[in-house]
C-alpha cells in the first residue's frame, strides 16, 4: 500500500500544480499511514520534491516527448511497482488527457475536479465540483485502486522538512502511433491552468486593440489573461482564453473581471475562484451579485489608475 503522485514538469521544472498534487498526496498518505512516491519524467532537481512531502521519487529519463498513452502506461507501471492504492494527478491539460487512459489500465475509478482531501477512507469518498461549479458532489470510489484529480488552488502547496529517496525507473513501455509534429506555446506567459491570479475582460473593452492595458495589469500581478465568450466568438482573443461553462474553468485565488456583465455560464466557469473583483460601468450587471469587491466605473478610467497604483504597491512590497 502506498500513494503515488504524478508530478508534472515543463522543460524539467515542476509545475505549481504538481507541487500542490504532491502536498495533497502527502495528506492522503498520512491519513492512510503510508508513504508517498512521486513519478517524474526527465525532471531537474527531483530532490526538491522532498520539500513537499514526497518520500520516494521514481524518475524516468528515457522518455522524450509527452505522449498521453505512453505516460499513462508509465504511471500504471509505477503504481504497480509501488503497490499504490491511490494515484493523485493534477488538473493540467496533460494530466486530464492521461487520467482516463490510466483508469482503464489500472481498472480504477477516477474522480476529477476534487477540492478536498477524502472525507472518508473506507468507503473512499471525495468532494468534487459538478455542474461546472454550480454544485459539489460527494463521490465514492469503489475500486481497489483510486485515481484522484485534484483541482488547482484547492488544497494549496504545503512545505515539509524532509528528504526524498531518489531512484531511476526504467519500465518497458508501450508504443503509440500518435505523435506531436509541432507545438505553439508562449513560454513567457502564465497559463490559466497554473495562474494564481487571472485578469479577464469582456465586450466592455470595445475592441481587441484595447487589450494592452489588460495585459499590462496581468503582467504586474503575474497573472494570466482570460476573456468572456462573446470576446472569443468575435475573434478578439484566442479560444484558449475563453472562460466559462463551454470554455475553460478557472480556479484561482484572485479573479478580476473587467467589462464582463456576468452571464450565468461565465459565472459558473469562475465560481471556484476564491476572490472575485468586478469592474463594470453598469451597477446592475449580474456579476456584482457574484463578486467580493466591485467598482462601478469605466474600465478605461479605472484600469490605468489601478495599474499605476499597483506599480507603487508592488515597489513598496517587493
Amino acid at each position: 500500500m502506498s500513494v503515488l503522485v504524478y508530478t508534472e514538469s515543463d522543460q524539467g521544472n515542476f509545475k505549481k500544480a504538481a507541487l500542490e498534487a504532491a502536498s495533497y498526496g502527502k495528506a492522503i498518505a498520512d491519513a492512510m499511514g503510508t508513504t508517498l512516491t512521486a513519478l517524474t519524467f526527465k525532471a531537474n532537481d527531483v530532490s526538491k520534491l522532498g520539500d513537499y512531502g514526497v518520500d520516494k521519487v521514481l524518475n524516468i529519463d528515457s522518455v522524450n516527448d509527452f505522449n498521453a498513452k505512453i505516460y499513462a502506461d508509465a504511471i500504471k507501471k509505477a503504481a504497480e511497482n509501488e503497490s499504490a492504492t491511490v494515484v493523485v494527478l493534477s488538473a493540467s491539460a496533460d494530466s486530464k488527457y492521461i487520467a482516463p487512459l490510466l483508469a482503464v489500465g489500472l481498472n480504477a475509478g477516477y474522480v476529477p475536479n476534487v477540492v478536498a482531501t477524502p472525507s472518508n477512507l473506507n468507503p473512499f469518498t471525495v468532494k468534487r465540483t459538478a455542474f461546472t461549479n454550480k454544485a459539489f458532489c460527494n463521490t465514492e470510489i469503489s475500486t481497489p485502486i483510486k485515481i484522484v484529480g485534484v483541482s488547482n488552488n484547492s488544497f494549496g502547496i504545503v512545505e515539509k522538512d524532509a528528504a526524498a529517496q531518489i531512484e531511476a525507473f526504467a519500465p518497458n513501455l508501450t508504443t503509440s502511433s500518435t505523435s506531436v509534429t509541432s507545438i505553439d506555446k508562449a513560454n513567457d506567459k502564465v497559463t490559466i491552468a497554473d495562474a494564481e491570479v487571472v485578469v479577464s475582460a469582456g465586450r466592455g473593452l470595445k475592441g481587441p486593440e484595447n487589450w494592452a492595458m489588460i495585459e499590462e495589469l496581468a503582467d504586474i500581478l503575474g497573472a494570466a489573461t482570460a476573456c468572456s465568450k462573446p470576446v472569443s466568438d468575435l475573434g478578439w482573443r484566442p479560444h484558449s482564453e475563453h472562460v466559462g461553462q463551454t470554455g475553460k474553468p478557472v480556479a484561482t485565488n484572485l479573479y478580476i473581471a473587467i467589462g464582463i456583465s456576468g452571464a450565468i455560464q461565465h459565472l459558473a466557469g469562475i465560481n471556484a475562484s476564491k476572490v472575485k473583483v468586478v469592474i463594470n460601468t453598469d451597477p446592475d450587471a449580474p456579476f456584482f451579485k457574484a463578486a467580493d469587491y466591485g467598482i462601478v466605473g469605466d474600465a478605461f478610467e479605472v484600469v490605468p489608475k489601478l495599474i499605476e497604483k499597483l506599480k507603487v504597491f508592488k515597489a513598496q512590497n517587493a
Binding site: 459539489f136 506555446k185 491570479v197 466568438d233 485565488n253 459558473a268 462601478v296
Partner: protein, 248 residues
C-alpha cells in the same frame, strides 16, 4: 468513413441546478435538456466529413427514453441513424463500457465525443473509450482533418496548442474550435421531418461496470454582498485585496 458521435443529454447551460431526495439526486423538474455543447461541435464537424468526404454518421447516447428527443435532434441536424443504450449512467466508466459495446459492433473509423459533459465535467468518457478499444486518442481537440487512414488533429494545451499526427481508428474529445459557434446548425423543418423516419435503435447493456458512485450533492455556500469601492478610491481596493482578502 464510418463515424460514431457520442451524445450526452445534459441540462441547458442556463439551468438552475437543484437537488432532491435528501440532496442525492439532480432535480430535472423544469430543466431543459440539450445536446452537450462539446458534443454538438463534434457532430457539426462530423457533418462536414459527411458532406465533403462521404462519411456516414451514427449517433449514440446512453440513458433512458428521456434522452430520445436529444438523439432525434442529432438526427434532424443530419446524422444517419441513432442508437440508445438503455442503461443508467452512474459514472463515466460505465458509460464508456456501454459505448465500447456499441463501438465494437459498428467498426467505426472515427469516434467523436465531447471533451467533457457540462453536467458532471468528468472529461473521462472519450479517453476511457479509446483505451477500452485500444484506439488512438486526442482530447481538447480544436481541429481535425482526415485523409485516408491518417488524421491531423490540433489539441489545446495549457498556454497554447499542439499539432498531432495519428491514424484511424481514432477517438476524439472535441470542443469549440473543431467548428466555430457560427457553424452550428439549427435543425430545419425538413430535417425534423426526416429525423422521424430515421432509425433509432434501442439496445440493452451487456454489462454493468461502474467504478464510482455519486453519494450526495451540495450547493456552494451563499456569498456575502459585494463590497463596493468608489472608482476614484483605488487605494482602498488595493488595501482590501492586500490586508483583508490577502490575495496580493
Amino acid at each position: 468513413m464510418k463515424i460514431l458521435v457520442c451524445i450526452s443529454h445534459v441540462p441547458d447551460t442556463t439551468s438552475k441546478i437543484n437537488f432532491i431526495e435528501d440532496d442525492s439526486k439532480f432535480d430535472s423538474n423544469g430543466v431543459q435538456f440539450v445536446i452537450n455543447p462539446n458534443d454538438e461541435f463534434g457532430l457539426t464537424r462530423a457533418m462536414w466529413f459527411k458532406e465533403k468526404q462521404n462519411a456516414t454518421i451514427n449517433v449514440v447516447s446512453v440513458g433512458g427514453p428521456e434522452t430520445e428527443p436529444t438523439l432525434r435532434k442529432a438526427l434532424a441536424i443530419g446524422a444517419d441513424a441513432a442508437i440508445r443504450v438503455n442503461a443508467s449512467t452512474p459514472d463515466g466508466y460505465s458509460v464508456a463500457t456501454h459505448l465500447t459495446e456499441v463501438a465494437r459492433k459498428g467498426n467505426y473509423d472515427l469516434i467523436i465525443a465531447g471533451r467533457e459533459s457540462i453536467d458532471y465535467n468528468g472529461g473521462m468518457v472519450p479517453g476511457m473509450l479509446a483505451a477500452m478499444l485500444d484506439a488512438n486518442f486526442v482530447t481538447n481537440c480544436i481541429s481535425l482533418e482526415v485523409e485516408g487512414t491518417t488524421a491531423i488533429a490540433i489539441r489545446e494545451i495549457d498556454g497554447g496548442k499542439e499539432i498531432l499526427s495519428t491514424v484511424l481508428p481514432l477517438v476524439i474529445g472535441g470542443q469549440k474550435g473543431l467548428v466555430e459557434e457560427s457553424d452550428l446548425r439549427i435543425p430545419n423543418m425538413r430535417g425534423i421531418m426526416m429525423a422521424r423516419k430515421k432509425p433509432l435503435t434501442v439496445v440493452e447493456p451487456e454489462s454493468d461496470n461502474s467504478a464510482t458512485n455519486s453519494v450526495s450533492f451540495e450547493k456552494p455556500a451563499a456569498r456575502g454582498a459585494v463590497k463596493l469601492v468608489e472608482a476614484d478610491n483605488i487605494d482602498e481596493l488595493i488595501n482590501l485585496l492586500h490586508n483583508e482578502a490577502k490575495v496580493i
